[in-house]
């Protein structure tokens, strides 16, 4: 600390740069490495399908980003996506309704779950981890009751012994399978939602309020921020994003898979957390979350193409995560205020 201050500042600038661009560099390096060593990796088809798989994770991660911005956590995000999957399937298969109705039903379901979380956290003042954990269990179980624990698929037999009247609307399947030019819809959706989230969080008054609440709720309240409203809104947005993620999942599977969404919770948390530190911003943010989802996507795609088993992939995912973190936190002076469990 005794070195002359100009040199010091220069060194800090470099460190900041390392942190700010470190994750991007890691991501690009990995991308280039896989492109160079696996010819099939660099085909546009492979890249788009990698992006497609990343899209669900990214979208759920964005939802989590809002909740984390207000200093919360939503453990029910994965089960909400699962609920969306089933809602869509039931709307079309059980009730023989159109794709549009299914989309509306799913979005409504996501928003309702968000409202439930908001109610418990904001009105009942239950700590977020606990409230959303409870909601997670309830959704996970309750969604299976009307279907007796079975996946919903066209032609299945209903409780009264008759076959289900509907099937998946082909228009609905286009959500995942359609594309504009070579770019699949889910990828477009991911990008649009990232830009929208970034814009809201970073550029608008409302985004500022989300972050203010996360930083000090009491101080925000005394500065005139409607804390309860915005905290609630964050959960509703998270439910909404989870529903959108679920829509993509169900139109990909083409059935109401009872297990869909189960692994989404940890992934959403992971990418939102990675996003927090990825760009040296030190708080949950949209581009960081996107980057996190892409990094995970690249690692998984690359390693699968190189013929590694899933457990090598888990190991690699963890190692990349840890290395990238050591990189940003140990090298940087930045403290991550938003992301400790305490």
């Amino acid at each position: 600390m005794s070195s002359p201050s100009t040199e010091l500042t220069a060194r800090m600038k470099i460190q900041d740069g390392v942190v700010k661009y470190g994750f991007i560099v890691v991501t690009i390096v990995l991308f280039l490495y896989f492109s160079a060593t696996e010819p099939s990796f660099r085909t546009s088809g492979a890249i788009f399908s990698m992006l497609k798989y990343a899209s669900v994770t990214a979208i759920l991660g964005l939802g989590m980003t809002f909740v984390m911005a207000v200093g919360g956590m939503d453990l029910s995000i994965g089960s909400t996506a699962g609920l969306a999957v089933q809602m869509a399937a039931m709307t079309m298969v059980f009730y023989n309704l159109t794709a549009a109705t299914a989309v509306v039903a799913v979005i409504a379901a996501g928003v309702l779950v968000g409202l439930l979380n908001a109610f418990l956290v904001v009105v009942c003042r239950i700590p977020d981890l606990l409230a959303t954990l409870g909601v997670m269990f309830v959704i996970q179980g309750a969604k299976l009751i009307p279907v007796d624990g079975q996946s919903v698929s066209a032609g299945m037999t209903l409780r009264d012994g008759t076959p289900a009247p509907g099937k998946f609307d082909p228009a609905f399947l286009q959500i995942d399978r359609g594309s504009i030019g070579p770019v699949p819809f889910p990828v477009i959706l991911m990008l649009v939602l990232t830009v929208a989230s970034w814009f809201i969080l970073d550029r608008t008054r409302w985004g500022r309020m989300f972050y203010a609440i996360g930083a000090n709720a009491e101080a925000s309240r005394l500065a005139g921020v409607r804390v309860d409203l915005f905290r609630g809104l964050a959960y509703v947005l998270c439910g909404l994003f989870a529903a959108v993620g679920g829509l993509i999942l169900v139109s990909r599977i083409g059935q109401g898979d009872v297990n869909a969404g189960a692994s989404s919770l940890l992934e959403a948390v992971a990418v939102a957390l990675v996003g927090t530190s990825a760009l040296g911003i030190g708080k949950p943010n949209a581009w960081g979350t996107l980057l996190g989802a892409l990094l995970v996507g690249i690692v998984l795609t690359g390693l699968t193409m190189k013929g590694f088993q899933y457990y090598h992939q888990d190991t690699a995912k963890g190692l990349v995560l840890i290395l990238a973190l050591i990189f940003s936190f140990t090298i940087s002076r930045n403290k991550a205020r938003f992301i400790s469990a305490g």
């Binding site: 201050s5 008054r205 930083a215 000090n216 009491e218 005394l222 005139g224 205020r337």
Partner: protein
């Protein structure tokens, strides 16, 4: 010692003598707290040397400092209180940590020692109080707790960083008594305060720090004018500006039958535009209740309020702000600061509409807004992007006060606005408050410090136990009357 590019201390050499009180003076951001943190081991790694009893030592951490007999009460209470533990555990916390108390003990087992510690300042807390979560204590009681904790350690060196900024006269007197006793027992004491009268009555020596350098050292009796000059520079203080009384005519807020504290009698009160009303009272007199009630973050148990003759019952801070009632809350860290936020962002939070269009923030305008606040209140900072956390206590206070002056209020409530600010800044804040009153606002300043109030207010209200004891224009009453009425025991 430097933080990044900001070199805070530049070759400070000073000594503390046994049995004497050395006062450390300096404007906000001069480096006082930093110096103290080095002394107490909170910051390691600096170019200098510390000697105790003539013997050079290195202090690698707070434990080390404590072992060397250096006890410190830091400026920010939040840096020292441990919520979730009981009052008793907090009172004995350092002893628990150092292993001076039995390693195994229930809270009950700690009570005797906790009582002893509390007795150091005659706190007289009941066992029920001692068992309470420390979180339930008010900010003043928390400060007393920390002082008691430092005082009983029989330190060789006692360091107090603005210990009185949250205390009222009674507690200050009690504290001084204890400091006097320790001095006579041969303890070396380093005392930081912005209250010159405290320094005059307490200190044996005085050291003035400015921009990280020692500019002046004096032995008692002090030449305060010279000290202030070296502290703030020539320009800032001419003669202490004589107060030009302003008397308002129109009533802004009318309170009828309002009870401030659960047990107090209802009061009626009119607050007028165009003047500064000072509300003074001991800790717990209900000042904050008055301010928070008006601001809508707490509801008065009974009574009604009107603003401009219309019913006024805000249900939230937002409501109050929209009707032109602003509040600078008393607890800076808990109620105003957002960890990691820059000056500009902190300043714009209540008035983001000013710097946004259709909800979209204009960051250039926002930074300009921050820069204006910095300039207007003379905040010592590197610019509007500096994080508020890294400002000195007084400069943080200036920012959180300044941000409410960015729009013209109907009613401006300032709860302990002078907490931890130097005299220069005190004048700036007082002048700004008087200025908006002259421009037609109704300004209410709440404080437990009579001198501060007399410096800023046109009209003074004395609150005792939630009831108005005295209400008159400043020019009509002298300080002694105020102090006398403040400690009056209410008849019940």
């Amino acid at each position: 010692m430097s933080f990044g590019a900001n070199q805070v201390l530049r070759g400070v050499t000073m000594s503390l003598l046994p049995g004497s009180v050395t006062a450390l003076l300096g404007a906000n951001g001069a480096g006082k707290s930093t110096l103290i943190k080095i002394l107490s081991g909170a910051y390691g790694g600096n170019g200098g040397q510390i000697r105790v009893d003539g013997e050079p030592i290195t202090i690698v951490g707070p434990r080390d400092a404590a072992r060397r007999g250096i006890a410190t009460v830091h400026q920010r209470i939040n840096e020292s209180i441990v919520p979730g533990l009981s009052v008793a555990e907090n009172l004995t916390f350092e002893e628990i940590v150092q292993g001076d108390l039995p390693a195994v003990s229930s809270v009950r087992g700690l009570l005797p020692r906790a009582r002893e510690v509390a007795a150091a300042l005659d706190l007289g807390w009941s066992d029920a109080r001692l068992r309470q979560d420390v979180f339930e204590l008010g900010i003043a009681d928390a400060q007393l707790l920390l002082l008691a904790r430092a005082l009983v350690q029989h330190p060789k060196v006692l360091v107090l960083d603005e210990p009185t900024s949250t205390l009222s006269q009674v507690e200050v007197a009690r504290l001084f008594e204890v400091i006097g006793r320790l001095r006579s027992e041969g303890v070396a004491i380093l005392y930081v305060s912005h209250h010159l009268d405290e320094i005059r009555s307490l200190a044996d020596r005085l050291v003035v720090l400015r921009d990280g350098r020692i500019l002046e050292q004096q032995d008692a009796p002090f030449d305060m004018r010279s000290a202030i000059r070296s502290m703030l520079g020539e320009s800032i203080l001419g003669d202490a500006a004589e107060l030009v009384e302003q008397r308002g005519e129109d009533v802004a807020v009318e309170l009828r039958g309002v009870t401030l504290l659960p047990r107090s009698a209802p009061i009626d009160l009119d607050l007028r535009y165009g003047e500064v009303t000072g509300v003074v009272g001991l800790i717990g007199a209900g000042k904050s209740e008055l301010a928070r009630g008006l601001f809508g973050v707490e509801q008065f148990p009974t009574g009604t309020a009107t603003l401009d003759g219309r019913a006024f019952r805000p249900s939230s801070a937002r409501d109050a702000i929209r009707r032109g009632v602003f509040l600078v809350p008393e607890d800076r860290a808990a109620e105003s600061m957002l960890p990691g936020w820059s000056i500009a962002r902190t300043a714009s939070l209540p008035f983001m509409r000013q710097v946004s269009r259709h909800g979209v923030m204009d960051s250039a305008r926002e930074r300009r807004m921050g820069a204006t606040a910095i300039e207007r209140f003379g905040v010592v900072a590197t610019g509007p992007d500096q994080s508020l956390d890294t400002l000195s206590g007084g400069n943080q206070q200036k920012v959180v006060v300044a941000r409410w002056f960015q729009e013209k209020p109907k009613v401006m409530l300032l709860d302990e606005p002078f907490r931890g600010v130097d005299i220069g800044a005190r004048h700036v804040i007082a002048t700004q408050a008087r200025q908006i009153a002259a421009d037609g606002s109704c300004v209410v300043v709440l404080s437990s410090d009579v001198d501060e109030i007399r410096e800023v207010a046109d009209r003074i209200l004395v609150l005792v136990d939630g009831e108005v004891r005295l209400d008159d224009y400043t020019t009509q009453i002298d300080g002694e009357d105020i102090v006398a009425s403040m400690s009056e025991v209410p008849q019940r």
